[in-house]
Symmetry: C2
Subunit: 221 residues, 2 copies
């Protein structure tokens, strides 16, 4: 059984590969995990020896099929625990990520299947991220980032791109709730900020940075 450290590296490589292309560099990993690149190199050698990654010195890494399946399994565990913490324990959505980081390493036969059943097989976690099923398959969603919408477009918030607590608290304060709808009123060409009208009719101003971190399901005409 893989150590927590190994699991964290694999999850990190998977996530970085999602956003930054299939091959991941040491520096990206060390930045994300807040370690030195020397530590990363050491660990990459270990992960390669465990057949979890393909690794050539100075050439970056890719997950093997085995590594990928471990990563997806971890994502499943993480997101199911997040759902439990949010739905059942009523823990604030900006706090559940940190706790799930610990819970995802708990390992016992049948545990995750029972948790999944208890939660009634949720397809998305409290941040709108898809929860892979037992076979590792995700429910796809056709989503775009808010900054790609134009004036007049209508949409629904279906997810957030980052889990940073500060961002989640900000969203809540702005009344930008998961699954709520809105319309884009105006897009400022100067700084690419936007004015949007929330479901309750209030108009608010959104920075580019915020818009780039919100996943939207665009309403068809």
């Amino acid at each position: 059984m893989a150590s927590q450290t190994v699991e964290n590296y694999i999850k990190t490589v998977y996530q970085l590969a999602q956003s930054a292309g299939p091959t991941v560099s040491s520096s990206l990993i060390s930045e994300k995990l807040k370690t030195t690149s020397a530590s990363v190199t050491d660990m990459l050698r270990k992960l390669a020896s465990l057949s979890l990654i393909h690794y050539e010195k100075y050439r970056g890494v890719q997950l093997t099929a085995e590594g990928k399946s471990m990563a997806v399994e971890l994502l499943r565990k993480h997101r199911l625990w997040e759902t439990f913490l949010y739905e059942k324990l009523k823990i604030r959505w900006d706090l559940v990520h940190e706790i799930a980081e610990q819970l995802e390493h708990v390992s016992a036969p049948g545990l995750i299947e029972q948790l999944d059943e208890f939660l009634a097989n949720p397809k998305f976690d409290p941040h709108g991220d898809p929860i892979p099923d037992a076979r590792g398959r995700f429910t796809l969603r056709n989503q775009v980032l808010l900054n790609t919408l134009e004036a007049g477009d209508k949409g629904t918030i279906v997810g957030v791109k980052t889990q940073e607590s500060e961002f989640l608290i900000y969203l809540h304060a702005m009344g930008l709730i998961l699954h709520s709808s809105f319309q884009v009123r105006e897009k400022m060409s100067y700084d690419e900020s936007m004015k949007i009208i929330r479901g309750d009719g209030d108009e608010i101003q959104i920075s580019l940075k915020t818009a780039q971190n919100l996943f939207i399901r665009k309403h068809s005409e």
Copy 2:
């Protein structure tokens, strides 16, 4: 924050102090944790430096107030998680202990209080062990071991003394369910085994070893 290893040692010292007097020897600890006594000595020095135990070479150890409160907090977490696994996830009672051994080390402000509330503040876990409240107080129960009962005595099973999976499976197979009542029919002086009549009227034979591991609330005349 204490490492998982430190937490496991503290919990072990606490449990051994319960059953074998206030001062605990190295050999008891190494036996329970399946390590060498050399490792135990090393760790005892560390625990003492953390003010969790009183330790004098060759003289055994006792928990400090701080150590005791850590142990009780761990017991609380362990037993609440066991209750969750059993009541909500429907995991077999002989399996929940092992999983709770991992879950008890998860640490986050408010988590355990929310879990407690979600479970409606249970006072006993699936094995009948009392769950300390947030202040570390246990609900007491006046219980005796089954082997102290005499022919004719009636009682209710309120707990088990050991969590060994094999024992729990055996009890289930014998129809000895937590909270079920019975009457002692006969006590064999030869090997101290007993015949008891279960609630459903069936008569079964119980060895001394089994009787010594069952906590009973004796019915008053």
